[in-house]
Subunit: 594 residues, 2 copies
């Protein structure tokens, strides 16, 4: 059982049949065709040699097939992770240098170790720190930064920077030196890809292609552009005309390597590796869950961490860059019918063949073509309507989203995502630090208690009933102290305060200390503190403390019992319980209090 949990391969491999193999092989061929240009492009985006992208598309896919739980997730280099890799490596080395490549390998290894550790420790919940608006804002901003960063390749000028502002300034400064032939190649590729995305499928259907066939051909547009521009570059000898090409790529499979063991470097890259891991994980799980649900399958997020961790360790040890589950490839993999993770392993074989055979051709591929495929791919990541939707739905969520976008665009991806996470946690704690609470009074003639500001209820000048509609923990413990002391100072005649607790599911150590402080302060002020309707598990815990023995007042099972004991002796005859027509006064006192 446990072996099956950690090796999901064992769940599907025993039942693997010929028809599965056929479906998986077809899917693998198509995904391979998509993945070749993508892996080259995302290596370029990360500032790495082309082969690093290919290497990250072989061993990681095999390992994910063994350890991953999604049947259709396509793991490998993706745009956002590539951008984050570039951002993390920028402070430590020059793009393309040996130290830079070693840094990328180390990032993959660290990310692998972090993901695996998180999976073994079942820390998948940490990904919850990334709220939807933050992730969505981050992806949109990353898309903009990525697209801007590729313009220099598209038009053949120099530019640099890791945020939109720097890139745009740098581009503007060099705009005079646009390289004509590069612009022709890049602009042409871009226009064709945009056309393919929006018009090719309808066109093919109009000329008689099947719906599915047309869609597949449209998806292979990038490889068509790659083949065409490579042929053009080779045929016209464009390298001599100054068009930048991918250049010589070492043929053959990657060798197993060890990452550099410099502690200083590990420390410098730790934050970057963590962010790459968490963002990659969140995106993978979200894609994986969406696809799995369509077939009523499930993925196990904690095991996904191990699967992605293994994939990244594989990437690192075979000279690749950080990897994660890609959205567009996974959707295609699913659509064309991949049945099991074996499709990923077959894709790995396809990429391995490419590194053995195609590298001489890849050398002639213009980088402008890759830039065009990147720009078209990331355009689909940019989601401005999400901003409007979030603004309409929740101002606090929008605040976190906007902070993420602005900082990602103007400062860096790391600052953007950390600001978003910090702000959403801060806003959340702010919201829960002021929980709803209400002074309640008795609905005349009943055992029900309601908010005195909304209902006509009976109250007492000497006894206040305060209902708290939230668990008590450190975020709101001090709020309760202030609320209670405020009540006490406003009512000089107060003798008894009853905390009505039916909605308190938890009292943590901070809240316990606050309750003790409240009790002590009330005692000093001559007010008795009572509790009512404390839930069973909460009461069990309180019994292990000194609070109950030091309590100035009592613990009442129901709020009405407290009323009967504290208020009725004041001698209002009409407050006598029972006798209401048809009422059974002792029935379900707990449910009436909320």
């Amino acid at each position: 059982m446990s072996l099956k949990r950690y090796l999901p391969l064992l769940q599907w491999l025993p039942g693997y049949r010929r028809e599965h193999a056929v479906s998986d092989l077809i899917a693998a061929v198509i995904v391979t065709i998509m993945l070749i240009p993508q892996s080259l492009a995302y290596a370029l985006l990360a500032g790495l040699p082309a082969q690093v992208g290919l290497y990250a598309s072989i061993l990681p896919l095999v390992l994910y097939a063994v350890f991953g739980t999604s049947r259709t997730l396509s793991v490998g280099p993706v745009a956002v992770a590539a951008l984050m890799t570039a951002a993390a490596l920028a402070p430590i080395a020059e793009p393309g240098s040996a130290e830079y490549v070693a840094g990328a390998v180390l990032l993959a290894v660290m990310s692998g170790l972090m993901l695996t550790a998180m999976g073994l420790l079942k820390l998948g919940f940490l990904a919850n720190f990334l709220s939807h608006p933050v992730i969505s804002g981050f992806i949109t901003a990353s898309g903009l930064v990525i697209a801007a960063s590729q313009v220099k390749h598209l038009v053949g000028i120099e530019a640099n920077g890791h945020n939109l502002l720097d890139i745009v300034i740098s581009l503007a400064a060099n705009l005079g030196s646009v390289h004509g032939p590069t612009l022709l190649i890049g602009g042409g590729a871009l226009l064709f890809l945009i056309f393919a995305r929006s018009h090719l499928k309808p066109l093919l259907i109009r000329v008689g292609a099947s719906q599915r066939g047309a869609e597949l051909v449209a998806k292979t547009a990038p490889i068509l552009v790659v083949v065409a521009t490579t042929a053009l570059a080779w045929g016209l000898g464009l390298d001599a005309r100054g068009v930048q090409l991918v250049g010589e790529v070492p043929a053959g499979l990657p060798e197993l390597t060890l990452p550099p063991l410099e502690w200083g470097l590990w420390k410098q890259l730790a934050v970057g590796a963590l962010l790459i891991s968490v963002v990659g994980f969140v995106e993978s799980v979200s894609v994986g869950q969406t696809l799995a649900a369509k077939r009523r399958q499930r993925i196990d997020p904690d095991q996904e961490l191990i699967g992605l961790g293994a994939a990244n360790l594989g990437a690192g040890f075979s000279g690749g860059m950080p990897v994660t589950g890609g959205f567009s490839r996974s959707v295609v993999n699913f659509d064309v019918g991949a049945q099991t993770p074996a499709a990923g392993a077959y894709t790995a074989v396809g990429i391995a063949l490419a590194t053995l055979v195609l590298t001489p051709a890849i050398a002639w591929l213009p980088t402008a073509t890759l830039a065009a495929t990147i720009i078209v791919a990331v355009a689909s990541l940019i989601d401005f309507p999400a901003l409007v939707r979030t603004w309409r739905y929740s101002r606090t969520d929008f605040g976190a989203m906007l902070a993420t976008i602005v900082l990602t665009l103007l400062h860096s991806v790391e600052a953007g995502i950390m600001a978003g996470v910090g702000l959403s946690i801060g806003l959340f704690l702010f919201r829960t630090s002021r929980p709803h609470s209400a002074v309640v009074g008795r609905v005349p003639g009943t055992e029900h208690f309601r908010n005195i500001q909304r209902h006509k209820v009976e109250t007492s000048a000497h006894v206040t009933f305060l209902r708290v509609d939230e668990s008590l923990y450190f975020a709101n413990a001090r709020f309760l102290e202030e609320r209670v002391m405020d009540l006490v100072t406003r009512q000089p005649d107060l003798q008894d305060l009853v905390l009505v607790c039916p909605a308190v599911n938890l009292i943590d150590a901070s809240a316990l200390e606050s309750l003790e402080a409240i009790n002590e302060r009330l005692t000093d002020a001559g007010v008795r503190l009572h509790l009512s309707e404390v839930k069973g598990p909460v009461m069990d815990r309180l019994k292990s403390t000194q609070l109950l023995s030091r309590l100035g007042g009592q613990v009442f099972l129901s709020t009405f019992e407290a009323w009967r004991s504290l208020v009725l002796p004041e001698g209002k005859p009409e407050d006598k319980p029972g006798g209401e027509p048809g009422g059974k006064p002792a029935e379900m006192p707990a449910s009436g209090a909320r």
Copy 2:
């Protein structure tokens, strides 16, 4: 009104009478006597010249009297803030150097700016990030580090380090060179102070002193030791025998100064200043609230931020170190009857007189004496029983506490407190990321629905009712996705899923996206998603989104209505509603679901 809020002085000054002045003056004399040795000692602890402690006890007290809301809080240098000052300054300069002193002044100014800004922006809730166990663990660990750091002065050897481990190793290495005369002075002072703390008061009472008089004399023990050892050092010329003395202290009041305006330095000290601010604020508010409650007074935490901010700005601009409210002095101030913050202003006059008159004497004060007063003072901060109490009450809280203590002792105060804050937020999010939820069924013959695992209830193979007992927000949105998909994959016959939402007070944008994803995935899987008992405000928000129009199922006002619509048509005659003896089926359906 608003002026009164920002200048609490206006609340008490108009009604200030002669009897207030008398009480405040008496309190000021006693607090001044306590504060002189403390301000010198905490300057020593922070690695600063003695006068910096005195300067921090003049202007800050006057400003707090104007802007603070506690009537009895005694502001000035305190031990923990002094330790944190030393820790923050350690990386930037040598203790005692001009840059070091400038750094301390800058820390006070930055802390003042941060506190004032937090007060004006009403960000007092940020202090909630520091849970009680973290603060308590931090104070205990700081007490241990402070005590260890003073041993070198007590025995006259060299040692350094900012955590317990480094200090102990450093002390052990130099233990051979203990300086006899210093040890005699320091050890004697320490023994007398310990004796005074535990035995002097009972002794005085036995020989006929009043309870209160005995207590006051016991509290003045530090000044007695200071006077006695200073006289000894002067009379015996102990400086010639190698006993370290405070040395020449510039006489006269502090001059107004500007902090250094180096941006790099500001950046380096930002984290330290923030931690000093927040820890100081939390401690001040906790002392202030406790004392205020005893007289049924209130303090306003947001205005307290402004009061402490003004005090720190005052400290910085008059060459002092960061200040905050001190526990022991405040309690004495309260006990001897201070009525208004004017007592603090009178204390400032007392300290100002001391800087004018007493500095020649202070020069002869042995540092060993100050070390002894520090050790005795911080001994009361160390609270090991709190560890046991927390362990018994809550393992998660204990985890955060232990992490804080271990990191403070073995690494640094900054690491300790940040680990504690991070861990308590993380553990809290972990707890709330797995909210209670239950599949419910109908209690036969009623309209009530209960957990199927705890009660004998009716269920349906085609319809599942899932009750969620928590607001839905980013921390648990994905949990809900997993819970729902788990239910769906386990029940192949499922056609309808009803989310029962009476306890959902909030659905944030992340949870909305999750609900949309759940709805989409369920639709893909052929299951309709329904909602029931959605609260009014939550429903209002949902109406502004696309969720309701895209919902596979319906929104039911009550769970029973959903049951009637989805389950009863399956045709079990016994499910017919109504007709139960004595029951009114349509009454309060909402309250029955929980």
